[in-house]
Amino acid sequence: MDRGVDGHRPALSGRGALLLGAPPLLFLLLFFAYPVASIVGLGLSGGTDRGAAAGVLDTWLDARTVEVLRFTLWQAALSTVLTVLAALPGAYVFARFRFRGRRLLRAATTVPFVLPTVVVASAFLALLGPRSPLNDMAALLGVPGPIVRLEGSLWAILLAHVFYLYAVVLRLVGGVWSNLDPGTEEAARVLGATRWMAFRQVTLPLLWPAIASAAAIAFLFTFTSFGVILLLGTPGTATLEVEIYRTTALLLDLPVAAALALLQMGSVLLLLLLYGRLQDRLTIERGLRPPADVTRPVSDRRSRLVAGATLGSMGLLLALPLLVLVERSFASGDGHGLEAYAALFQAGGRAGAFVAPAEAIGNSLLFAGATVILASLLGLMSAAVVAYRRGWSSRGLDALLMLPLGTSAVTLGFGFIVALDQPPLDLRTSPLLIPIAHTLVAMPFVVRATVPLIRAIQPRLREAAAVLGASPRRTWLEVDGPVIARAALVGGGFAFAVSLGEFGATLFIARPDVPTVPIAIFRLLGQPGTLNFAQAMAMSTILMVLTAAAVLLIERWRGEAATAF
């Protein structure tokens, strides 16, 4: 007889909502809305005598732009299809089988997704580039010439995307799959369906919404892919993101870059709208079965074969690039050593860097720390409004907060350099510029980590606390408090990881003498020589370890929170 009366959910007063909501709102207006408006203004200012919009249209209809857009869509579609095909077997194995190390392995599959794109690109350069150990091995065996030389090819890009997005499909589809009652498929088998027919007729239709949803996310990610394509591609393989960067940094043509950024924003907006429509139409079946254990041990020959082959190829795809990355970071001359790591601490040198590359690590940690503080503070304020207030103010702020996520990093960075380089807001030299940009990207994660947890607190618990004598304030402290604290830890961890790895926006705004780790890697890769390459690999390895550590901590905190609520 639960009437679902939510009498004891704390409500935020209008004044409180205003006080808490104002700082994040101001932040978004100043550092998101204003730069975006500046891009629009700049795009239109490039107009000819035929009118303001003509310049934008000229850029959009230019043969080069059409080719870039075509390639952007083509590589995104290919990456999406490949990722879904590659990850479905894995989703099946994790949903249906029980084996030793399953949880650890599942957590490990998430690592590529959270790795900075620069690290992913470095890893695939190491694996598929001219310095690939595969080529070394071939040479040892007497096979002439480099057998692997995929650098600059579409295949390298696609493989890197599959590597990066594997976890999205695994998690989304696997999550639904493990909630499907195996009994339905068994029922179909008893009714005379073959294994394949049972899958086609029963399981696939139930999985379809999750697959579509995961595919949409994969498409969105690869459509806005920047770092991987910049580092692995050639001028012939440019996405819109890369083209905006090249137009700005190499051609210095800001109006054209602005027109391209407008095209990018419009496309992403359209994709998000389509994704929203898709989400509305697809209702993912939940609660088909209580999340009881539906896994079975890998016992018979058939399941050993299936699980073994799947996990083996998964390991090859996900682990090999990272292993090669680490191996290359130790490669020096003919053997292995710490040369590359030592070189990181020398300024100048043959690479002619302004500062020792290792200084970038300190910079990155400082920026990440500032981002954690800024994003947690503003994010928790927003989360409080979104979670405790009902009605338009809550929904409006929620939607507004997600806008920066829907805007590509390159657009954000581009917006910063066109908007924040002149009075009244001249932040070009401010050390806060990078944390501000990172906060824009990280804040939505903090809100997303917090709001669902607050909303998931059962009203019963607050009622129980009240009946046991806790005042409303005390109830909030005792019941909501621990949840919010944990969510803040998770959100802060995300902010840290996001800031460490952010590349697209930072590339536009980082000052030459204060690089972050991804920027330092990018520069090292851009310079010739074996040592520079090894240094880039070493730096990538360090960044990978830092990020993985942050993510493992998040998983731990979140895992506890997830089992508790």
């Binding site: 606390a465 046991l468 004598g469």
Partner: protein, 363 residues
Amino acid sequence: MLTLDTVSLRYGETQVLDAIDLAVADGELLTVLGPSGSGKSSLLRVIAGLAPPDRGAVHWDERDLARVPVHERGFGLMFQDFALFPHRDVHENVAFGLRMQGLGAGRIAARVAEVLELVGMSGMGKRAVSRLSGGEQQRVALARAIAPSPRLLMLDEPLGSLDRALRERLPLQLRDIVRAMGASAIYVTHDQEEALGIADRTIVLRDGRIVADAAPARLWAQPPDEWVARFLGFRNVTLASVRDGRAETPWGTVPLPAGVPDGECRLVLRPTAFVPDPDGTIRGLVTARLFRGDHLRLELAVRTASPLDVEARWDPLPSPGDQLALRIEPEGVIVLPAVESAPGTPSSAEADHRPPYRANLRP
């Protein structure tokens, strides 16, 4: 003493509680019985202060509780789904109310140990509540509710999610614990056996109204109307015409207890009151039988009437297909008024069976 004075509660279009008058004496164990949606849980929520009534008042002794917030009422409530704090272990859950009272750590630890012992969970304070079985969670929820020594303890379907063995054993333990506390208690359930088994007094709720209010034995002996009788599990209910102390029913002629006036009335025939008698007026064909250990439950088809529910303890045990001739003892016949009381109009039967002390509460 808890007093409810014409308490009403609406959720949207639904009248969940409709002019409830109720008093619970100090130390009394009241059970609230009713089908799903009859307003049982809402009644507890109103008393706890979790749902303010739309009309009427809740008093404790002389004090109107309207302005007393939930946390200052000093009542205990054990939730149907237990609502244990998932991020706290057993000890911390039980200690919560004591901490709210501002007790020191030493006294809290002593009291927690005491109530955990009471519910048979000694030494399990460090366990995570998510790892407990249903029965253990139930006992922790009970311990948490009684630890602060509430003056009124409310239990909302406390055995709802438990298996049969526990459901049979725990009500008695619950009653003993409540008795030991000396507090008043309100125990909500939809299970008749549970409700009648442990109560000083039972009320029956139907669509937000109290349709019966009596000691369990009295309620069992004389349900106020057909609806309550059927809810208690009686199935042999029929209209009958009375003449000279005998009633004509579709099943045959039935002797009545003394003092029933001639005319129309409604009868309940207890399934336990039938005895085999070659001259009996109730004759029928056994159509189904259910083995119940020490007795059989029979379904007897009698002419065109609805099948008769008969409990048979005699020898030889009848089988389906047997023709039986039975009579019924007059003590096994409950006489109800002929007119079924519609919800909303208090029946004379209810008035008749209203316990005397309840009338005294009215000013």
